[in-house]
Point group: D2
Chain length 361, copies 4
């Protein structure tokens, strides 16, 4: 399914896949996640998007062919028939970010399947809204158990990995702590799951959809709060009540709308941390009183940008540890030909998570 012009429907096209180069892996896609950022690319809001492009950066599939040898991150030879997932980003491994900082997510030549590689570039099938994808030799691959529903795993490679990146930046653990998650899209739901898995005792979610709040409870949220029915002052008071008036130890922002950061930072206790991961595209400016909000309260604000292979692995392990609960994240499933419909339900926020799965009919 090819995006040829912004805001136009994707078009079904047949593309001939060229002979594989050394280390490349041909994969038949089993499931492709439809991500919120796909909507932004579709509408042309994301300046990184080249045209034409096959969208889709969250994929799980079955290996069809390998040229030469290719090993997974765990050191196993990739073989035809293997179920695999992969780091959606391809990084150079040679720059200052990759070698000195050891932060490949900051690699300046990072490229992403389905986001920044057009379908005019060999081997053409560079996105996941497709029957097949060819993974380049420098793609980091994980084998997955064949008995797991591929649709449940796809989000691990995007919102799951970004959430893992956020929680990987806090020192120590969350035992007994109070965490607030702002927003319960896939990123926020993963944040709830990570907070719970890392020991938090009190997990607030501030969100407008009761359905999503209900899901968050299953992931371990002790205090799902509907922002439409609970005003700012009241939800602030709830956090203060649980924390003996101190405020939250950690707030994770997973919304990306103006004003959210201002509310979030004030919920923190002195010395607390604000993880901001939801501003994936421009959303205007936040007004921050450095003296009152940051300095006099010893606050840390940490921006979180995308993720790398380490985080993909952490998210994958999180999902594999409890796939049944994560299955609840998926609200809609479509065939490849229905990709435009999938984009629509995501755009209209009918879906929490839509997944394109292989037509097994």
């Amino acid at each position: 399914m090819l995006l040829k012009a912004f805001n136009e429907p994707l078009e079904l096209r047949e593309i001939e896949i060229p002979q594989l180069d050394e280390g490349q892996v041909l994969v038949e896609l089993q499931a492709s996640g439809v991500c919120g950022s796909d909507i932004h690319m579709w509408s042309g809001e994301d300046p990184r998007t080249p045209l034409p492009i096959i969208l889709g950066h969250e994929g799980v599939g079955t290996v069809v062919d390998i040229k030469g040898e290719k090993r997974t991150v765990d050191g196993c030879s990739v073989k035809p028939g293997d179920s695999i997932i992969w780091n959606r980003g391809i990084t150079c491994g040679k720059c200052y970010s990759c070698t000195v900082l050891k932060e490949p997510s900051l690699c300046t030549s990072r490229r992403v399947y389905g986001i920044s590689i057009p379908s005019t570039e060999k081997p053409y099938v560079n996105g996941c809204y497709s029957d097949y994808i060819v993974l380049r030799s420098n793609t980091d691959i994980f084998a997955i158990p064949s008995n797991t529903d591929p649709a449940v795993l796809v989000s691990a490679s995007c919102s799951g990995a970004t959430s893992a990146h956020a929680f990987d930046m806090i020192p120590g653990n969350l035992i007994g702590q109070t965490v607030v998650v702002q927003g319960a899209g896939p990123l926020g739901v993963y944040a709830v799951a990570f907070a719970r898995r890392l020991g938090a005792s009190h997990i607030f979610v501030f969100e407008g959809s009761d359905q999503r709040l209900k899901l968050c409870r299953k992931f371990g949220s002790t205090h799902p709060v509907n922002i439409h029915t609970t005003p700012v002052d009241e939800r602030n008071a709830m956090v203060m009540d649980v924390t003996h008036g101190r405020g939250a130890d950690l707030v994770m922002e997973a919304v990306g709308l103006q004003g959210v950061a201002e509310e979030g930072v004030r919920l923190l206790r002195k010395g607390g941390t604000y993880l901001s991961a939801g501003y994936a595209q421009p959303a205007g400016k936040e007004s921050i009183d450095f003296y009152r909000d940051i300095v006099s309260r010893n606050i840390r604000i940490q921006g979180v940008w995308v993720s790398d292979t380490r985080h993909t692995r952490q998210a994958l392990d999180l999902v594999l540890d409890d796939p049944d609960t994560f299955a609840g994240l998926i609200t809609h499933r479509f065939n490849l030909e229905e990709a435009n419909e999938a984009l629509r339900v995501m755009k209209e926020r009918q879906a929490l998570k839509a997944v394109i799965t292989k037509n097994t009919g």
Copy 2:
């Protein structure tokens, strides 16, 4: 119950409690844990033990009286009738360890109720094998929910807190990692619980008692291994199998017998961490090949000594999060007059954890 001579039975004595000093808190004990180290003190193996002494350093009780004002760590005024637990250690707050290192567990003037304060020192009731204890003004106190069984909480203030200290010294989280716990006494069981709570996917326990292994499974151990039926090579192979031949990310030693460290260090992957917390009294020397075992494999060995208020709080939160499972840790309950019997079942390893509870009959 007073220890007047090593290896002799404790004797029941009435002691008159003096008037409280400013900040002191008189507590009626609801539950006192019998710790493995009590056995060593009873037999005179622990050089810190003064005589005569009221043993018992793990206590939970009800506040009877306070002189002046005393606040909990959370800032609430302590009132008669409150259920409380406390950090068993009293530290100076002024030395290099307390102020510069911020490691009060290393305070050189640290004293411990039931371990290092004799009953000849005012206010006399300085241990938990007693109906009452007087907490000094520099004791750190936590309020506990009144609906929780006090017996379930006592171990949080000793083995739980020590285990919390161990896990507090590792950077980052354990998502997806493989952890081996050596030994399933209370310290090891807490280690399993922490490893699980902090995200580990594969948790081995190496232990000789099937009953304890069964309990560990409830706490999240995925691989409980009986060392009597599974020889060293075989259990090593099990760890390598799960980790694609790399070895465990983390091994926690909770045994304290000669040879244990040698086995444990070799189970680690390159760059792994060995937390050693079980050597609470002399156990001879370990033979370590620095080149092979440590340097060429980039291994970290971290000794863990006792705990502080931060760790007591983490352990307390861990237990309060799942008191039903922790109730399974307690195998025996006794009245205060039966303290000698409690020591006997611990010494003969019939009990995993014995607790002295208030005679409510």
Copy 3:
């Protein structure tokens, strides 16, 4: 010298010092620093200031008398004749911040000599603009070499310690890194010294006074930049040039004026850290584009509030390592009776650092 009404001259008064309580130390002051925040207290801008008060929170003196025993942080008995410096803050050692977070600088009952204790409170001499001060028993004291000029050491207990706190919050070292310090008041000068001492290769200072820039060069600044002659774009370009276009690894804000944070955050490389310590009183709001400035660049902003005993010790060691260079920080010296003049030269920014020293005439 007593502050009885805001904006009025301090008045010389004789105060009778009461008998010492247990653990109190009577100190004859040798040197007292005049801090920028003294000016704000004098003018009533700092809401913490009670009246009447003896200002002065940076002191070095000679022990005259001790009631009972008092030990330094290093465990030595304090004796009459000892030269000492101390942590200006007094913290409770019992609250959540002190015991669980181990961040006494966040202690909610923190009190500070010369800032928050009025002269009506026993033992009355609670500030350093005085011949004598009485240190309470819970004050953390360091012995200092008797051959060091006391005036050189005073700033270690305030701006030095705050700067130490800032650098204590970054993980790892600064070997080879590029650091920008915004502002070269005492806080900024210490930041230059710490950055140099912790391995930074390129140290920019953005400052308006050539005299201060000259001093910063002595402390290790490789790029002292006058903001009046080098416009924003140009100084940004200088940083990019040195860092191969990446931006600074670390920016430390030591100014506290509106707009400074906005410039500083943009100087950072992806993944860089902004330490903000200069906003010691309200300065209005900063306008931050979370997407562009923080999230998409994985930036950390860390507020830094005051300091504790650990930081005082680090600053003290820094100064003792190179007292000759730090002597250059002091531009003016006054007798106690000239305290109003000292405040004036600080207020009018004639002085970088004024110190009140004992009249030895």
Copy 4:
């Protein structure tokens, strides 16, 4: 100069250099360090050594030719005439160590120029005891200032980088701390330089050569101690004296002989860290009393194995910051044809550091 048989002299051979592959860089060597481990390889003690081989893993040279484009770690295009240094290790960038742990020094397929690549493997010139070397495309390269003596820089890529790796594993800084370095070979000298650069106030060196101790003083050692004239008890007492009886904060082992670790661990204060980097080949077993030496004192022992690009860069920056002092490390210089003589002076410990430099005669 080719090593064809262990313990036999290296032989001068002409080797035809094949056409470069994509990304390969042909370098004319300006300086090659003779490392202590070269002696072990020469004598066949290091099991990694294939035959025949061109030894030499520490090189600095001038670019002669590049096939295609190659960029430095800082992102600049490599051009003929550039002076460069490089990470001696080549890692896969794809395995668990490289991607999930972000520890390329633990990469299982790590290969090292002059250590593990025989001269029978294309492009043949795989070591630095040579006029030319061909760097593979996945080698990480740093440009160096053309006005720096290449001989001074070579050690940065081996002992310097390993020492950087050690100091990169300690959290926080060393301001005011006491460090003991065991051994003053190149690794130990770098440790002194790093300890000083990261803020340590008291730096002991335990070493048998007065000449090396004298050099260490130039690098910032405050307490150079000759182990032949100062017995164990006495040097222990010196450390205790400086630290108010606490012991050293950090001990770095740079010797690798039996018994050294036992002495070193006991010099530590409670909670201190032992960095062990000197056991580069088997040296027998150390006898460690876990209770007394590690657990009851909360000690950390950290093995340090080789290094990666991050550490090479840190060492390089350290040297470039003060090349004059580092020039003092070099005691002998030889032409390439004198390589056997260079090995001899290192083996007989006449040299602290020998360097083979280009015959400019």
